[in-house]
Amino acid sequence: MKLHEFQAKDIFRKSGIPVPNGQLITSSDQATKVVQIINGPPWVIKAQIHAGGRGKGGGVKVVHYPYEVVTATEDLLGKPLVTRQTGPDGVIVNQILIEEGIKIDREFYLSMAIDRSRSESTMIFSQAGGMDIEEVAVESPELILKEHINPAGGWMTYQARNLIYRLDPPLLPAAVEELMSVMANVYKVFVTHDCSLVEINPLVITKSGKVVALDAKISIDDNALFRQKELLKLDDPREKDPLELMAEKYHLNYIRLDGNVGAMVNGAGLAMATMDVIKMAGADPANFLDVGGGASEEMITKGFEIILKDRRVQAILVNIFGGILRCDVLARGVLAAAEKTSIRVPLIVRLEGTNVEEGRKILRNSKLKFLVAKDLAEAAVLVAKQVSKTG
């Protein structure tokens, strides 16, 4: 689960990580008041959407006159913002953070994430702040410093020294102290909030020598939300696709994609591989849908309805390898969905595994029109045929 910048900054503020003074607004009338409360000029206007790349996409503006604060917020609010991470339609901006401008002396990058190959939390620090860290990693990897953390001991002060004393030019003692405290607090935030990512880019030293987090990005580990009930309230459903929201409600793993072949599969790996099979057959998947291991008849029905709601879908491939999920349960779920909504596109079904004969029989004996694929290779051929017919 992703948090908005202003939510992440609230957490920072409560956790002893300095952030600029700022105020959130949801309509441009509020902008005039905010200008009187927040120090400026300059002011920084920041669109609050989850996607990255806001700066280049025009979602962050620095303005110098109060009227500009108003016009800048009017330009952004209620309109889609397109960045390299949003897709061509962009995401509607519902909220804007207005902050005091900060005079920057130096910029750093600081983040905390899990290093998968070592199975450890890792602090990443770089003096190449404010830049795209992925590019820095490729072009000048020597500028990226890392400290791995033993979960038993937690973050140790010497680790902060390892990172900070490699800076060139060195920092003044007061900034060293503040930076060390920020690092310790970032680790604390990471662990206490079950984060999968805490990222500050840039973390700056101001002209007056203070350390301040100008940006803040936090992602929470979805698996840990059961013990982070307070954070659940910060979820912003407006950021999600409506079909994805509906899927979430029924515990289905659904991701909307750009193609025209709907797919229903059990298991994440097989679902991904089925998407690939569709692509190789010359078509494009309209979605990723993993109904999971122990899907009920109702979940199958809902999954099917979600696929059918997507008007771009021109054919549907059901690929089920029954393990825990039995093929007869799948068949009944598909039939229940067909009763509620008419299936307007060709349906290709490939069933294998637990109770496969029973599942096939249920489908055969129904009024449902569908094509049977005896294996995955044949399923691919059938999908290609259907799509070339309709396309």
């Binding site: 899990i114 038993a152 991701i255 790996g269 991904m272 591989a273 690939d276 998947p285 990723f288 993993d290």
Partner: protein
Amino acid sequence: MSILVDEKTRVVVQGITGREGAFHTRQMLDYGTEVAAGVTPGKGGKQVDGVPVFNTVQEAIEKEEVNTSCIFVPPPFAGDAIIEAASADLGVIVCITEGIPILDMVKVTSFLKDRDTVLIGPNCPGIISPGKTKVGIMPGPIHRQGGMAVISRSGTLTYEVVDQLTRVGLGQSTCIGIGGDPVIGTTFIDHLMRFKEDIETKGVILIGEIGGTAEEEAADYIRKDFDKPVIAFIAGQTAPPGRRMGHAGAIISGGQGKAEDKIKALQAAGITVALDLGALGKTALEVMGDIGAN
């Protein structure tokens, strides 16, 4: 031969009284697995399908001499269950549970570092040595004993692959699902090292997916130190970046974890990569050819 589990495997099912635990205990017994004990705190003294239930793993070891655990405990308590089994020095722990918080797994793997216990999973289908024993949730009948090893990050995708292997006449020595989470107990390389020494294993099928760099690391190890044929498949060639594709670990982020990079690394190491899943069985048969996997 086979690796990690065989006829000598005596299983304790942690979380045996739950819905999944009870169902798969029955399935494992049907396959011929020696499920000797179950553990559910507070339910000691009961029986599930004739299997005695204990309150602690320690008690199960004392009374039933179990050496392997299969865990179905719900996510909030699964980390504790793994450490309980490891503290009791069980040789192999298979954790089926999906949805364990990542920081819990960071603690677990740190705890396991200097121990001999082998953890498979979490969020995995388990391990099976066909004809001998299965510790996990995979459908038994699709397997056949033979010379192919299978190591995979996925569940049903593994069934698909095993089914194809069996249909083309390639049986399996041991099939392992290492799990779809970002932090797991053992990786491709841990098991490749075992398959290298296993006489029965003639070739390996490696099933990876987007996310992380485990496949690249495996490719590097195979190039340097593994001389049996390897056939690989990578799921998620069409997955968009930044989206978690079901598995917590299956996400392309920070420029890492793309399918094309994995395929390139594997091919550069001389590994045959099957791009078409539907034809994987045939590809494996071509590669294994005269070596005779049976």
